[in-house]
Amino acid sequence: MKKILLWLLVLTMCISMVASFSLVGCKEKAAPAEEEAVEAAEEEVAPTEEAAVGEPKTIVYWSLWNEQEPFATVVNKWIEDYKKVKPEITIEVVYVGREVMTKIMTARSGGETIDLVDTESYVLKGSLIKEGISLVMDEALDAPDYKGDNPWRDSFLAGTLEQYAADDGKVSVISYNLITNGFMYDKKLWRDNGWTVPETWDELLALCETIKTTSDISPITQDAGVDLYNDMWNYQIMEKLVGPGAILAAAGDETGMSWEDPAFKEAIEMERVLWDKGYIVEGAAGFTWPAGQLLLTTGEAAMELCGSWLPNELKTQVSDDFEWGTFPFPEIAGGVGKITDMESYLIGWAAFNDTKVGPEIVDFLKFCTTPENQQMLVDESWNMSTILGTNIPPAIQGLGEALLDSETLFSPHDGLPEAYPDYYKNVYLKNHHIAFIGDITPDEYIEVMKKETIEYWENQ
């Protein structure tokens, strides 16, 4: 009797396991996208004629945004509005979060269909573009935009499409969100203290000295626990000294000799001046993010060098009479970079070249990149748009104006993350971080950069 019961138990277990496998949703088996991707090894170009109207199609769109972020709200609105215009197109959006590339990698290897992804444009360059699996958009860009007046290409701020083009110049990344870098401060605090915005490095130093000696406020706050925040000083200084691309070139120089250019050492020395003179708030080396930026909100620090997302990020934490002000990185005497040379940190879309809904994607993206739709995003997110005709969010007026006047746009971290990602992380950021907080001297920094650059290339 007991034996029968036992076998019954085992049987039930097996049945329930099998049942749970098959009871899972009525999802169709994912198309074997892998085979097709191998076939379509040559780049596919996005066609410009639309498919027959009325045929129901689905675009699977995985996004780096989280559900709760303002971007998700706007994207949902775009999708809703687009549905009214094109009811036969269904856009399945999944708000994956910042791990979107990890998930896409996993899902696609399992054969799942994903048509469209958005994430930081340099990440797209370092993944889809590098592997050649992205849908090229050049033809679509030359065709008219959503309203049909001008080529789509012309809606974008000059340089933002080319910034992440493939090595052969073909554009696959449609960047829509534009973040830049500069100093943030409280206009009211500065007004009350009579401080003025510096336009040269020497003026900046003088201002810091004034702030330090005449008040209890720390001149500069820094989340010095985050190595990529610290790097903002380095690539900005290098850009102003010798123009963009120097760090990138030095990273790519297998002999390591480029690091002997005196500008690299000078940059570290300039950074160290800020610490040695006490302009950077005490204890910053031990700050855990976001301890540093919080000092800006409480009025304990006068300014912070950061990305232009900062005002939005802190908007719920600042007091009611806080007035956001921003100014670009000042020029350095004797350097070639102008004050209007600005960082262009982009977030954008790319499609996979094995997608079956290329024309639909193009149409949807054109819809999303009209000035009206982009303005919604600007208003919600306080980030600028790459689309001309949108305005600058009031909080980052100073930086936005410099951007629009700019003749030179450079990539964050001098383009290192997408070009040599492991070098960027394991050699450059590693050593810059300790040089910045003073654990090694500028000379030691140059020596170790030379040595480790050579080692890096030997190990490739």
């Binding site: 191998v38 590339m101 370092g126 592997e131 699996i133 700050f287 997408e418």
Partner: protein
């Protein structure tokens, strides 16, 4: 009635099937991948033989990660077990409120790691307004009042302390479970013979909790080497380099958070090395604490 040998296989079957199909087979694929150069998106991985492994040996970041993993394992382990033993002694000496204390000490273990990283990073270790620095300021110990607990030089130690603080309750419960199985009459007999508390600990308690101790230590060993969530969440945006252990480094090189490194083959090699590390460590632990089973 003779025992039928094949019945054992029936007992083994369900777990073995799941294990083989959903675990061993993927593991073999992952191990094979360590001999290739592959990004997650590529269609054609490139065979490179042992190149990933030789790269690992000369990779400073990997060696640093290995060192951090071992530090976490050893220092964390010593801290946890030392404190857990002390607490088990304190709680075992018949004081009131034993269950309450045990629950309180255990509590941090069930709180999500994200909360710990925020609380400790921003509130306790914050050089400007954090609890620790304020506390030392009150005591007028200048050196410690300005100490930056979470700067790169010290952050690993600070986080190891957090790990100890979070985990000690769990291991305490395990140990106490083992200690409570010891029949009280052994202690009675020893006390009559005039033994001190300390001698009773070393001669009765310690030998008899060996089984539980081995399980606990191996559990800690595995968790220390694979520890991810707390370290990944510390520092908010990105885990600071000083906290990189094998597990974190693997993730960064393979999947990255905002860094398009995507070197899956290399990451798999790190995984293989980690696996070997765990096997070696388990072996060492077993040898060090030879298992004896006391039946009573």
């Amino acid at each position: 009635m003779k025992r039928r040998r094949y019945i054992a296989w029936i007992f083994l079957a369900p777990s073995l099937i799941m294990y083989l199909y959903f675990f061993v087979y993927p593991t073999i694929e992952a191990i094979i991948l360590s001999f290739y150069k592959a990004s997650g998106f590529t269609q054609n991985p490139e065979f490179v033989g042992f190149k990933n492994f030789s790269k690992l040996i000369s990779d400073d970041s990997f060696l640093a990660a290995l060192k951090n993993t071992l530090l976490l394992l050893v220092i964390g382990g010593i801290g946890i077990f030392l404190i857990a033993f002390i607490f088990s002694l304190l709680l075992g000496s018949g004081i009131k409120g034993k269950k309450v204390y045990r629950t309180i000490i255990f509590f941090p273990f069930i709180i999500a790691p994200v909360v710990h990283s925020i609380y400790w990073g921003l509130l306790v270790y914050n050089p400007r307004k954090g609890m620790l620095n304020q506390f030392f300021k009150l005591l007028h110990i200048e050196a410690l009042a300005k100490f930056t607990f979470t700067e790169p030089k010290y952050v690993l130690w600070s986080v190891i302390f957090i790990v100890i603080w979070v985990s000690v309750g769990f291991y305490l419960i395990l140990l106490m479970a083992g200690i409570e199985r010891i029949p009280p009459y052994l202690y009675e007999a020893a006390r009559i013979e005039g033994a001190t508390e300390l001698r009773m600990f070393f001669n009765i308690t310690l030998p008899l909790v060996k089984e539980v101790l081995v399980i606990a230590i191996i559990f800690w060993g595995i968790n220390a080497v694979k520890m991810f969530d707390l370290l990944y969440a510390f520092g908010g945006i990105l885990p600071p380099r000083a906290l990189w252990t094998n597990a974190i480094y693997l993730y960064i090189m393979g999947f990255g958070k905002r860094d398009p490194i995507f070197q899956l083959g290399y990451a798999s090699a790190i995984g293989v090395v980690t696996l070997l590390l765990v096997i070696v460590i388990s072996f060492i632990i077993r040898k060090l604490i030879r298992r004896e089973i006391y039946e009573y």
